[in-house]
Amino acid sequence: MLSVNDLSVYYGGVRALDNVSIEIRSGEIVAIIGSNGAGKSTFLNALMGLIHKSGGTVTFHGEMISDLRTEEIVARRISLVPETRELFPRMTCKDNLRMGVFLCHDKRLFEERLESVYGLFPRLKERHRQLAGTLSGGEQQMLAIGRAIMQDPRLLLLDEPSLGLSPNITSELFQRITEIRDTGRAVLLVEQKAHIALEVADRGYLLTVGRVTRSGTSVALRDDELVRKVYFGE
């Protein structure tokens, strides 16, 4: 469904991504792993059109989306949960979720999806009238994920979704991520907790200083020597 060919990004004179090619099929969770500074967040931001791409193409369901603006990419139902969360701090929890369905005006649909997000994160229901900026760190992370899910994305891009979440909520979150996959959608997961990420993912790519250095099934990656060295410090 999504194929990225030879994507390159430069920051100033520094090459952050060097001809990265990645393929995602429907009903699949794909993990991107790599150490800090490998270019994982840059990759997601470039996909969403948030930063300037110096080269390469992105096609989504056969359509070229490399040159589209961010809002046009979102309209094709690709959602990003950014690492920095980027909530609307002065809006309530519920209004933040409402922004997730900004492109759709069906009230019934909104209520429906709201319920499903509340089902995933009951804490958000308790706090629905609270301003997002006053939520605790973990609650903000839940809200950021919830807002992305509200859009009912065909492709969900998650940048460090477990950041700041307690262990029990983290495992529940990954459970939900597999459920999202099972409905035929695709998830692109960037996660530092490599062992969980590779546990839920079907396939994965290892990014090292802006290049794809390994790719394959999760099982193969988990046993890969390079991955073990970079990631698990073994």
């Binding site: 100033g12 939520l135 529940e172 200083v209």
Partner: protein
């Protein structure tokens, strides 16, 4: 790097100065000389305002009021008491600075648009006072017959002499600005502008520092005012209206804040060119508006392109380097002994109906080294940190830290000064500054700031700079981020940003460290490194650390003692093994599957 930069463009400035010195020799038109003299005064005003707007990031509109204070100070004292010019300029600067402090004290409670409004009102009040306090200011007619400036028996009567006098004053102002831009002042003001909360967490008393910016900025206007009064030989309220304030602000904004060379160019564009177009008569204002729009738009797109092209001087590999078995640098040890324990008694905190902490009572045994604080999301862990660090004041209860007294009675910058360093859950770095400058902010905490040397041109701050450099580099080296020292923090990946934040707290030579989720966003290998570093900090450095963390493996391997919060209450405490076996902790937090 501003703070230790040596002048590279010295010769360029000397050339500009030489050029200006030649002007009266080549140009015989008194009118042109007068315009350039006024231009110098505007440059001085803009330099002063750039301290407030550019460095400290405060939007101030009624700046011409300080200009008026200086001008009337000189005019009144000169006509009534015959005060000589050289004393009057100093007095006017001091007077304006004083007014700046008096005005700043109540108004600095508000920021941004509100501050702009308040200062706008101040400017309007100033014009009203000038118009109506007839006995002193002469009302709308102003004060005539001010004697032209006489400096040490050198009478500046003609336009040529006045030109040189203004040039001398502006040059002096320029030298002061240059000194300020290399002093810790600049770094501290910019840190406040970037993130006030983080600056306070580094022990910066932001209110006092902003007042200082106000005072220094106003002093420039005061001196410029006295010079203006002497040159015009006449003052009236017309010279200090709102449009004057707007013109000065436009120069600063067009100049992009701080650079003096750009201020001179912007001053030229916004003052000299419209002046030269007097022949256009009624179209002049229109032309001025067009110039302003065209230059602003051009400059905006230009500086955007420049900032994109500049990039950062980073190596291609963005990973911090790490060697195991690193020693803790002795120069980072706290001057005073570490905090041995923190006693929390009945600490409660609510946010509009939400009870974040509900009567928490327990003791944090800091003498054990690293202690953990865990709990479900929204349990109140960060709120508790904020109460200890003085960012929040609890509704009730006391927090007694051994050797520091009751922390609930202290504000955040006071607590930081006492030696409590903290990181933030979402890293709060000074985004527009380099890694080195960020860490410097921590190092400033324990050093005596050279206040006088920061404003006296040519004065040496070497001792201070060396001290801070040693500390900052030791901290960066210890964390393996010295390779990024000159990189802008906003361009760094989160893992490195966290290390910068830790380095900043270490540079404070803390007696207690509060780390809020420092391991989140790091992978396993990086967590191992961080764990090693924390162990070294605790064992060799003797710094007690309180960790808020969700990575259970990370906390349990490091901590000697763990406290568990849930729903704003203490759920359990004890050794890591006890906590991992505790039924209630498993039920409410760990879940059945361990992550």
């Amino acid at each position: 790097m501003r703070f230790v930069r040596t002048g590279k463009r010295e010769w360029a400035w000397l050339l500009v100065l030489a050029g200006f010195i030649c002007v009266p020799l080549l140009c015989s038109s008194p009118y042109a000389l007068h315009v350039i003299t006024l231009f110098f005064i505007y440059v001085m005003l803009a330099m002063g305002l750039s301290i407030i707007v550019g460095y400290a990031g405060l939007l101030v509109i009624g700046y011409a009021a300080f200009f008026a204070v200086g001008a009337y100070f000189y005019a009144v004292l000169n006509t009534r008491a015959g005060l000589p010019f050289e004393i009057a300029v100093l007095g006017a600067a001091l007077m304006a600075a004083l007014v700046g402090i008096v005005l700043g004290f109540p108004t600095l409670r508000v920021r941004g648009d509100y501050l702009a409004l308040v200062t706008l009102a101040f400017g309007e009040i100033a014009t009203q006072v000038l118009n109506n306090w007839t006995s002193i200011t002469g009302g709308p007619k102003g004060i005539p017959a001010v004697s032209s400036p006489e400096v040490f028996a050198w009478h500046a009567a003609g336009p040529g002499q006045q030109f040189y006098l203004a040039l001398a004053c502006t040059s002096l102002g320029f030298l002061i600005m240059r000194q300020v831009s290399r002093s810790p002042f600049a770094v501290i003001w910019e840190s406040i502008r970037d993130d006030e909360l983080a600056a306070r967490a580094c022990g910066v008393n932001t209110t006092n520092w902003l007042l200082l910016a106000f005072a220094l900025g106003a002093a420039f206007a005061g001196a410029a005012g006295a010079l203006f009064a002497g040159i015009q030989r006449f003052v009236s309220p017309e010279s200090f209206t709102l449009s004057e304030s707007i013109l000065i602000l436009s120069i600063v904004v067009l100049a992009g804040g701080k650079s003096v060379s750009r201020i001179m160019v912007a001053g030229c564009v916004l003052f000299c060119i419209p002046e030269a177009m007097r022949s256009l008569s009624e179209y002049r204002t229109l032309a001025f508006g067009l110039i302003l729009i065209v230059f602003t738009v051009l400059d905006h797109s230009f500086s955007k392109r420049r900032s994109r092209a500049r990039g950062t001087a980073l190596e291609e590999d963005l990973r911090p380097h790490y060697e195991s078995g690193k020693r803790f640098p002795p120069c980072l040890r706290a001057a005073k002994g570490p905090v041995s324990e923190i006693k929390l008694t009945d600490v409660s905190k609510s946010f509009s109906g939400l009870h974040a902490l509900q009567g928490v009572t327990f003791t944090v045994p800091c003498e054990k080294g690293i202690v953990g604080l865990i709990g479900p999301n929204g349990a109140g862990k960060t709120t508790l940190f904020n109460c200890i660090a003085g960012l929040l004041s609890p509704d009730q209860g006391t927090i007694e830290a051994c050797g520091l007294g009751d922390l609930t009675k202290k504000t955040d910058h006071e607590t930081a000064k006492l030696g409590v360093g903290r990181t933030f859950q979402r890293t709060r770095l000074f985004q527009s500054m380099t890694v080195r400058e960020n860490v410097f902010l921590g190092a400033f905490c324990n050093q005596r700031i050279p206040y006088l040397a920061s404003v006296i041109p040519g004065a040496s701050m070497r001792r201070f700079q060396t001290q801070c450099s040693i500390i900052a580099h030791a901290a960066m080296d210890f964390l393996g981020i010295d390779g990024f020292a000159d990189g802008k923090v906003s361009s760094l990946p989160i893992g490195v940003q966290r290390k910068v934040e830790i380095a900043r707290t270490l540079a404070m030579r803390p007696r207690l460290l509060l780390f809020d989720e420092v391991a989140s966003g790091l992978n396993e290998a990086e967590k191992k490194e961080l764990a090693d570093l924390l162990r070294t900090m605790s064992s060799e450095g003797g710094i007690p650390i309180i960790l808020v963390e969700h990575d259970i493996a990370f906390v349990t391997q490091l901590s000697k003692h763990i406290s568990v919060l849930a729903e704003g209450r203490l759920l359990a405490e004890g050794s890591p093994d006890e906590i991992l076996a505790d039924e209630r902790v498993i039920a409410s937090y760990l879940g059945t599957r361990r992550c």
